[in-house]
């Protein structure tokens, strides 16, 4: 886009007046590194002050750093002096659209949102080229703040007298998440290591498997764990590992000896959330998150899962614990209107997608008919609806903004993250809508300022340890409307070439259930897609991804992460 010539007013350099100056050497801390010297955006608007307005009217009803309003002569305005005066060519300019979003202009009536106002952003890299114009007529895509702005500008609806200009603050309050702030620092994923998933790995111990995954991630990020990494995190559960205190066995194979390291009893996204918070707290720049599965060492997987049930009320009932998934599938399908055919389509899609993923452990040319014809062991849940176990290790390197800029790879930013737990009690939990996913998603959306999740993402990596779970999670995330996820699966919308590519990696159904590493695997695959490094299963032009995880039976907790490249 053409860059507007900067017409600097006399007061423009005055840091006291505006809190910043384009001529300053030091870029204010809240600006992303590499911010341009001039204003990032210039927006035209006109204001008609009505006779009933109190005079004078402050243009910005509170101080917003880095944003100012100038008149057509280039004069900076803080107040509009006269009642009834017309300001046909005001210009709002500032350094980042995020700042602009906070601008609140009181008492301006309908004039401010005048149809035909223009926004120009003077950096083509910052926003996708098409972002200033809606993709389709009437598209209300909220993907990025600029579009929000554009929408309000075009429709003139964002600025009733005295209202906050852009309702992000309102949205936050509505979600009950006033406490969620994305903090001051961006956090990105700069290294990924995945070992190929296999049904059994007799030649490696779990330690060697972890070492393999870790050195892949360190090589990818170009770091030395003994010097560069500030903290390490392992996501693991004692029973899966066969140890009393598994935390003991985590440091050596990661290069974490004599360093801050801890274990999270949660899935990969819970681990990432810890890394995110430690970095945001300012006590670490680079964190490593690891999780692995050596499921082939487990003799009685269903026995372990059964031990996750309430020891007094549920475990004594006996039976294979997958029957809980069968019950949940039944409840979900009845409530949502999806069918077992839709689930079979998910099985076929993911098993076949995995054929393109070199690390997948259970890729196969499964058809929906075969999936539907497999034995209904826990009806309506069939044998092929269950993700088979696999061995593997996934390691991510997470970095603060400063460290990420120096990394070897393109940083994939964590735009939002959320995690939540539903009650563990089988008797009282909600079996149909995955509330943990909903709560986690609302937190992540508030942080990433996502309003319309259906339009906000290019790809998704969603937990699919049971086929129906992929559909349930898509609906819980709001990326599919209730009862529509199944239709999307059958129409082919969720395939690599479809409208909303979901689990093009093959998911857990195709790659294998790697226990607590499932969440990290979903993250790692999304990171590779966004970097353009996914190879034979790359989705072209993917820039934003949503990642969701579930901890597996019998838990009802999960996490959501929103990843993006650029900016």
């Amino acid at each position: 886009m053409a860059q507007r010539p900067l017409d600097l007013s006399p007061g423009w350099r005055d840091t006291e007046l505006f809190g910043w100056s384009p001529m300053e050497e030091v870029i204010p801390s809240r600006q992303p590194v590499g911010a341009m010297d001039g204003p990032r955006f210039v927006a035209d608007c006109s204001i008609q002050l009505m006779p009933w307005h109190a005079s004078p009217v402050r243009v910005l009803d509170r101080d917003v750093p880095n944003v100012e309003v100038v008149s057509d002569t280039g004069e900076a305005l803080r107040e509009l002096p006269m009642k009834g005066a017309n300001f046909p060519a005001l210009r709002v300019r500032g350094r980042s659209v995020e700042d602009y979003m906070q601008v609140s202009v009181p008492k301006l009536g309908r004039g401010f949102g005048k149809r035909g106002g223009t926004v120009e952003v003077d950096s083509g890299e910052v926003f996708p080229k098409d972002c200033a114009k809606p993709r389709h007529e009437g598209d209300t895509d909220w993907r990025d703040p600029l579009r929000d702005f554009r929408f309000f500008l075009d429709h003139g609806s964002g600025c009733n007298a005295g209202q906050t200009f852009i309702p992000i603050a309102r949205f936050r309050r509505a979600a009950g998440l006033a406490g969620v702030e994305s903090g001051e620092m961006k956090v990105g994923i700069v290294g990924v290591g995945i070992t190929p998933f296999r049904p059994t790995t007799p030649e490696f111990s779990w330690k060697e498997l972890t070492y393999d995954g870790a050195q892949r991630a360190y090589a990818d990020a170009g770091i030395d764990p003994r010097e560069d990494v500030d903290t390490f995190i392992t996501c693991a559960e004692d029973y899966y590992e066969g140890f009393g205190i598994f935390d003991e066995f985590t440091p050596d194979q990661l290069g974490a000896v004599m360093r801050p390291m801890h274990t999270v009893g949660g899935d990969g996204i819970a681990g990432l959330a810890n890394a995110f918070m430690i970095i945001q707290s300012g006590i670490a720049d680079i964190a490593v998150v690891e999780s692995h599965s050596k499921a082939s060492d487990i003799l009685t997987y269903e026995g372990i899962v059964a031990h996750g049930l309430d020891p007094i009320w549920n475990k004594p009932l006996g039976g294979h614990p997958n029957l809980i998934a069968g019950l949940e599938m039944d409840a979900y399908l009845r409530a949502s209107g999806n069918t077992t055919k839709d689930c079979a389509a998910v099985v076929a899609k993911n098993r076949q997608a995995a054929l393109h993923n070199p690390i997948a452990g259970h890729a196969a040319r499964v058809t929906p008919e075969q999936a539907e014809g497999s034995p209904a062991l826990w009806a309506p849940l069939r044998e092929l609806d269950v993700a088979p176990l696999a061995d593997g290790c996934v390691v991510l390197v997470v970095a603060s903004e400063k460290a990420a800029r120096n990394a070897r790879t393109t940083p994939v930013w964590i735009r939002g993250i959320g995690w939540a737990t539903e009650t563990p009690s089988l008797e009282t939990r909600d079996w149909t809508t995955s509330p943990a996913t909903r709560i986690a998603a609302s937190m992540a959306y508030a942080m990433a300022k996502v309003r319309n999740p259906g339009q906000a993402f290019d790809i998704a990596e969603i937990d699919d340890r049971f086929s129906y779970k992929e559909l349930q999670h898509l609906e819980a995330l709001g990326v599919a409307r209730k009862g529509q996820a199944g239709k999307m699966a059958r129409r082919g919308d969720l395939t690599a070439g479809g409208k909303f590519p979901t689990n093009v990696s093959g998911g857990s159904l195709g790659c294998g259930n790697v226990l607590e590493a499932c969440g990290l695997h979903r993250l790692a695959e999304a990171v590779l897609q966004l970097r353009g490094d996914a190879g034979s299963h790359q989705v072209d032009g993917a820039r934003n991804a949503i990642v969701q995880s579930w901890r597996g039976l019998p838990a009802a907790s999960g996490g959501v992460a929103i990843l993006g490249v650029g900016k």
Binding site: M258, S281, W419
Partner: protein, 388 residues
């Protein structure tokens, strides 16, 4: 980084074989902490749960199982796990939930129910060893701590009586503690020295008892403390640190806990403490065995190597001494439900700093305290510095 304060704490009775389930214990402690802070559960943004081996309760994914007991259902809920170090570490995790800005109020709940493990929790500890190198030797925790204690005594030529004095001090300190399991106002040095030999040089009274219990603390950001006018009963977290050593415990010299020293350095750096002996007023080091208190005092830099025993002999570490250590009674006196020792470490620091310790209150004014927990296979240290 936002400032974070502890604004409430609670702990249940510590006893072996309490009638309550783990969920009920968690609820009881969480309720007490929230009541003390004057905060309702719906104002809590995130719940952090700490609990040590799943095998004690015999429940896989124990964190999930306890979620509704500790108020974590339908909330941001996180379980962290660093063996015995969880006692302080879960509060560190709570600290970063608030310090990072992702939560304004966080509830940290730690629970342990060791008595479900029959006949004795020691049987769980059979599964903490390397399955190839250690497990065939059928080691037992008391044995390896006897090795560590012996090494510590041998290197520094410390007489056994100096170590036994710690047990006497802590069991006497615990007399004022309403949750204490093994408080004894009349215990003497002879009682400890003459108690049953478990594995030389460890006697029965050198060991803290296994226990059931739960503890909880409420953390709040500076904004919340100001808005809710909680400053009067808030203790600020000044620094946190944690560090893990290699799994291969046989490869290190057991006479000094280097991992504790590194964790302490991390916390002191953040708390801007250059001279811990002058800038810190009292300490709550982890004391599952009496020699561990001395060991950890040296690791924390609060005593010269080999001199912590002398401090105990001279009475410096008594509650009314120059540098009170374990004024709560510690694990030796109050009990050792592994992760629930949160209440003896973080909880006691909070109560002492805000003057709410009642009979256990240190007579001298205290402004800065340090607490520490130790875990895994003699390899993990977590340290927190708190002040007013």
């Amino acid at each position: 980084m936002r400032k974070v304060a502890v604004v409430g704490a609670g702990m249940t009775l510590f006893r072996r074989r309490l009638q309550e389930t783990g969920k009920e214990l968690s609820f009881e402690a969480a309720r007490m902490a929230l009541d003390q802070a004057g905060i309702e559960i719906n104002e809590v943004d995130a719940v952090i749960h700490g609990t040590a081996p799943d095998a004690f309760d015999g429940v896989h994914m124990k964190g999930e199982y306890l979620a509704d007991g500790s108020g974590g259902a339908r909330k941001r809920y996180m379980r962290v796990f660093t063996g015995g170090g969880t006692g302080v570490f879960s509060a560190i995790a709570g600290w970063w939930h608030v310090a990072s800005g992702l939560a304004d109020v966080a509830l940290v709940v730690n629970e342990e129910k060791m008595s479900s493990c029959q006949p004795h929790p020691q049987s769980v500890f059979a599964y903490i060893w390397d399955p190839i190198l250690d497990r065939p030797l059928k080691p037992n925790l008391v044995w390896i701590f006897a090795m560590e204690m012996n090494r510590y005594m041998t290197v520094h030529k410390i007489p056994y009586e100096d170590i036994a004095r710690v047990a006497v001090k802590n069991k006497r300190n615990a007399v004022g503690h309403p949750c204490a399991q093994l408080a004894d106002a009349n215990i003497t040095l002879d009682d400890v020295v003459n108690s049953e030999m478990m594995a030389w040089p460890v006697r029965r009274l050198d060991i803290s008892p296994p226990s059931d219990g739960a503890a909880a603390v409420v953390l709040a950001s500076e904004d919340v403390v100001r808005k809710r006018k909680m400053k009067e009963h808030a203790a600020w977290i000044k620094g946190v640190g944690w560090c893990i050593d290699s799994t291969m415990w046989t490869d290190r010299d057991l006479y000094f806990p280097e991992y504790v020293a590194r964790a302490a350095n991390m916390a002191y750096r953040q708390a801007k403490i250059d001279d811990p002996r002058k800038q810190i007023d009292f300490a709550e080091p982890y004391d599952p065995f009496d020699y561990k208190e001395l060991h950890h005092l040296e690791g924390l830099g609060l005593a010269d190597k080999g001199k912590a025993g002398l401090m105990t002999r001279e009475g410096v570490t008594e509650r009314d001494g120059d540098f009170p250590v374990c004024p709560s009674g510690g694990l030796m006196g109050v009990g050792n439900p592994i992760a629930a020792t949160l209440g003896i470490k973080i909880g006691e620091l909070y109560w002492q700093l805000t003057g709410q310790s009642g009979k256990r209150q240190i007579p001298n004014e205290v402004r800065t305290g340090v607490c520490q927990a130790w875990g895994d296979l003699m390899q993990f240290g977590s340290v927190m510095v708190m002040g007013t």
